[in-house]
């Protein structure tokens, strides 16, 4: 938390200007921490800050109140400089009950702001949280942190005294008190939240009145209460001009598909079976039938992917989405699409594993499954978005490549990108690359496996086209004619052709953009949701004067053609991943470079600090 004295502002209390701050709201699943966090995000966005968020909820639907596993939290970092991650350590923590304190205190910086809802620190909650004695009575707490004990529940009730609401309804407003208070502390504008409250409870004026009162009460409390010595300003960040919105990964994936559907004017059949954290893609798409996206909630993952394959055979864009366990079930069917050489887009929103694992936590351990999770030689294209907003472009690109090369394309997102948000500069849809989607209708010289010389793609034919009736299937077939063939040399030729087709996608990959000098001691190579943490770490290392650069891969299969030579320009290569070392194995096998991995598989994003340390160690080793 870097400070710099700023000219005292209008408000009574002194205000300090910060470059960035990391805040976490934590409480019971029922306490509305997600709403609170999202609202504060919007306030910061309005104030022009760059932002990165990290929601975190329990696997249970409504875990019993007060329990440790029932704690729900929302973290964000916002700043006047580029913000790459939700942040490692907290500048401020709001704990609505003892369980929240127990679970999250460790992440609060020494000297950090700690706001607790004293009303919740009673017998039952304390025992549920496993506190022998009330931690608030422990003097260390107040000495180690800037502890603010606020009877949020009480003050909320008081503010609503005369309103015709029952106790439960009044209590439900308390999160807005916390929001108001924190908004004052960080001087973020209340306006967007006031608007939101009005929209949200439009049907119920009393609720509007109540929540607004409480929000303002919280704000006023900060201003007047003795306990807060100062508050903080954070200037707008330098961000490219344009219209922004806050975007989360899964919605961006869905909208990327919508953009592709609009561009190609080809319907999308989206076959999916619900699974955390992929379900919200299905739910988002189901709200946009105007785009001719036909969502199909299938009986299982196999039906989900096969329905997509059937749709592609019919001349629609077949898409399916799931998470690791579901993707494992789709392997055989993806192989069919490889053999039938049909376009197919597969979203894998990775989560903690193996098996059921940690359904609501994030991970990057499906890369090998994406490449090899099928029988025999079954090559497909693999892409990975690097931020929530990037999901939009990756989804669109996946459709483009699937159609252009008549090949399955898998997109590896993860639980962090899926639910995490960032301020996102709206793209101009017209500027998106064209998607060459045309169906063959010409009878003359037609063969089902005739190939485009540039892409090796076979023709896409819509059933219903007179004269092009043909039969395909999963058995090996003769090239060009598509007739069944067990002929040895033909099989070898087809295996190579299917591989070459995927290899040719390399023509589509733009030159690698290197963050930093093109040669040096250490190159950090990453993919997927670790982009923010890696970039932040590398930029810190660079500021420390280290000869470190980074490259973030959005194309994982095929790899960028210029990757090999890029790697060789550095003494050492570091590959941070939230897995046991998957991309690093691929780089070693592909380029015989002694790349080393930094691997932590905890279900949570990697931290900037730990990556920085890994970098520094390697820089030492390089010397």
């Amino acid at each position: 938390m870097s400070d710099a004295m700023a000219p005292a502002s209008a408000v009574a209390k002194p205000r300090r200007t910060l470059t960035r701050a990391v805040i976490r709201f934590a409480g019971d699943s029922g306490d509305g921490m997600q709403v609170t966090g999202e609202q504060f995000t919007t306030e910061a966005a309005w104030a022009g800050n760059d932002i990165s968020t990290l929601p975190n909820f329990p696997a249970e639907i409504r875990a019993p109140a007060g329990t440790l596993f029932g704690v729900s939290s929302f973290q964000l970092q916002f700043g006047s400089q580029r913000v790459y991650t939700p942040g490692d350590q907290l500048d401020a923590l709001v704990a609505m009950n003892p369980a929240a304190l127990k679970v999250h205190l460790a992440d609060l910086k020494p000297g950090g702001i700690l706001i607790v809802n004293t009303a919740a620190f009673e017998e039952r909650n304390l025992t549920k949280a496993g506190y022998g004695k009330n931690p608030l009575e422990d003097p260390d707490l107040a000495s180690k942190y800037r502890l603010h004990q606020v009877d949020i529940t009480g003050l909320t009730k008081a503010a609503l005294d005369d309103l015709p609401l029952n106790a439960k309804e009044k209590d439900r407003c308390k999160n807005f008190f916390a929001l108001g208070l924190v908004s004052w502390i960080y001087t973020r504008p209340l306006d967007p939240t006031l608007d939101a409250i009005k929209k949200r409870f439009a049907k119920n004026p009393t609720f509007v009145e109540a929540n607004i009162r409480v929000l303002k009460a919280g704000h006023a409390f900060g201003e007047t209460a003795e306990i807060f010595a100062e508050n903080y300003g954070i200037d707008p960040a330098e961000m490219p001009p344009g219209v922004y919105r806050s975007m989360i990964g899964n919605r961006a994936l869905a909208w990327g598909l919508l953009a592709a559907a609009e561009r190609t004017q080809i319907p999308i059949v989206f076959g999916a079976y619900p699974i955390t954290p992929a379900s919200s893609i299905l739910e988002e798409l189901a709200m946009h039938k105007r785009f001719k996206v036909r969502t199909f909630q299938a009986e299982d993952e196999i039906a989900a992917v096969t329905s997509a394959v059937g749709a592609s055979f019919g001349g629609a864009i077949g898409v399916t989405a799931s998470s690791g366990p579901g993707i494992a079930l789709k392997g055989e069917a993806i192989g069919l699409a490889v053999m039938a050489e049909l376009p197919l887009v597969i979203f894998d929103i990775q989560r903690g594993g193996p098996s059921t694992g940690l359904p609501t936590k994030t991970e990057q351990a499906d890369l090998m499954q994406a490449l090899y999770g099928r029988n025999s030689e079954s090559p497909i294209v693999v892409l990975a978005p690097s931020s929530p907003g990037d999901c939009f472009y990756i989804a669109y690109e996946a459709v483009r490549l699937a159609i252009k090369y008549m090949v399955p394309v898998m997109v590896l997102s993860d639980g962090y990108l899926a639910n995490g948000s960032e301020p996102w500069l709206l793209p101009d849809p017209k500027s998106l690359p064209d998607i060459p989607a045309k169906f063959r209708t010409e009878k003359e010289g037609f063969f089902p496996y005739l190939r485009d010389p540039a892409t090796l793609a076979r023709p896409w034919v819509r059933p219903g086209t007179p004269g092009l009736e043909h039969r395909i299937g999963g058995i090996e077939k003769q090239d060009v004619t598509g007739n069944i063939s067990y002929e040895p040399e033909n099989h070898d030729h087809m295996v190579r052709t299917r591989a070459e087709k995927v290899r040719r996608v390399a023509q589509e990959i733009p030159p690698i953009s290197i963050n930093g000098p093109h040669t040096g001691d250490v190159l950090v190579v990453g993919w997927g949701g670790t982009y923010g943490a890696i970039t932040a770490a590398v930029e810190e290392a660079q500021m420390e004067g280290k000869a470190v650069s980074s490259v973030h891969l959005r194309y994982l299969n095929p790899l960028p053609p210029d990757l090999g030579q890029t790697l060789r320009q550095f003494r050492k290569v570091l590959v941070p991943e939230i897995n046991s070392g998957q991309l690093v194995r691929i780089l070693r096998a592909e380029y015989l470079v002694d790349a080393v991995g930094f691997n932590r598989v905890r279900g949570v994003p990697l931290q900037t600090q730990e990556i920085l340390e890994a970098i520094n160690q390697l820089v030492e080793a390089a010397r």
């Binding site: 022009g48 919105r245 953009a259 059949v269 199909f296 329905s307 059937g310 055979f313 086209t465």
Partner: protein
Amino acid sequence: MSTVKGAPEAASNGPRLTKKDFESDQDVRWCPGCGDYAILSAVQKAMPDLGIPREDIVFISGIGCSSRFPYYMNTYGFHTIHGRAPAIATGLKLARPDLKVFVVTGDGDGLSIGGNHLLHVLRRNVDVTILLFNNRIYGLTKGQYSPTSELGKVTKSTPLGSADRPVSPCSFALAVGATFVARTVDRNIGHMEETLKRAAAHKGAAFVEILQNCNVYNDLAWNVLYDRESKVQHELRLEHGKPLLFGAPDDRRGLVLEGVKPKVVSVKDVPASALWVHDETDRSTALILAQLWAPDYPIPLGVLVNEAGQPIYEDLVLKQEQKVIADRGPGDITALLRSGETWTIK
């Protein structure tokens, strides 16, 4: 919208097609003597009468001897993977409700690995015509027992006899809500043809069990309907609104009800009014009939249930799509991107 072209009017455009038009150029790779040959020719025979242009017809199959079927039809075809044809067909219909889609499957493909997809395609009443070739064996993998094999079946994989009770394809289809369920047999091309035409004409999921002979691994599994003697005795031809009669001309038998239990009687022993009359529109009737089998009962052939007017999955989905487009116009990505909370940075 989801109305498939065809029926007389469609037939009118273009010259009328013949069986030949539906024969592909691939050599047929079934064992000599296989019942599949008869089914293939019955289907090819029936096609022209559907009056649907060849290019609007698609055959989808899974894996099995039966599932080789699409290669031999000169239409569009997709020989997919084991058990998944119903799901592939569902996706295809969502993409292309205008196509006439047939699913060809086997007792293993459709009821063993594919049982769940069959359940759901029938439940959803997707507008596809499903032909299940039931030879009570896994043919392609060279003779292991199947979910329709009789208890105690001795096969390669069950040298001491199988230990599981068979499932009845028709009972299954009826219970999960199939709106058209029929049974026919490979040795009766005429009945097959007529049954196939009725199935193909049905709007919604039509399920046809075709009793088929695998002369290599399960020869004469349906001999009760092949052997002239027993055929006469056991074959019960279902006719809507007609009493349930069967047996030799000189010894006609019929079914009467005792509560919900059918009982076999000799027609001369009961007044015609007492005979149980077939009602295609009643699922309960079909559920009871589907349980009947020789020797104690006759074997019903023909249409068990034929329920018109049930909602069709892809119809409803497309109606929703058309309605929102009619009400709010087609999707506009630019507008969507700017919807909700946005802010501008100068």
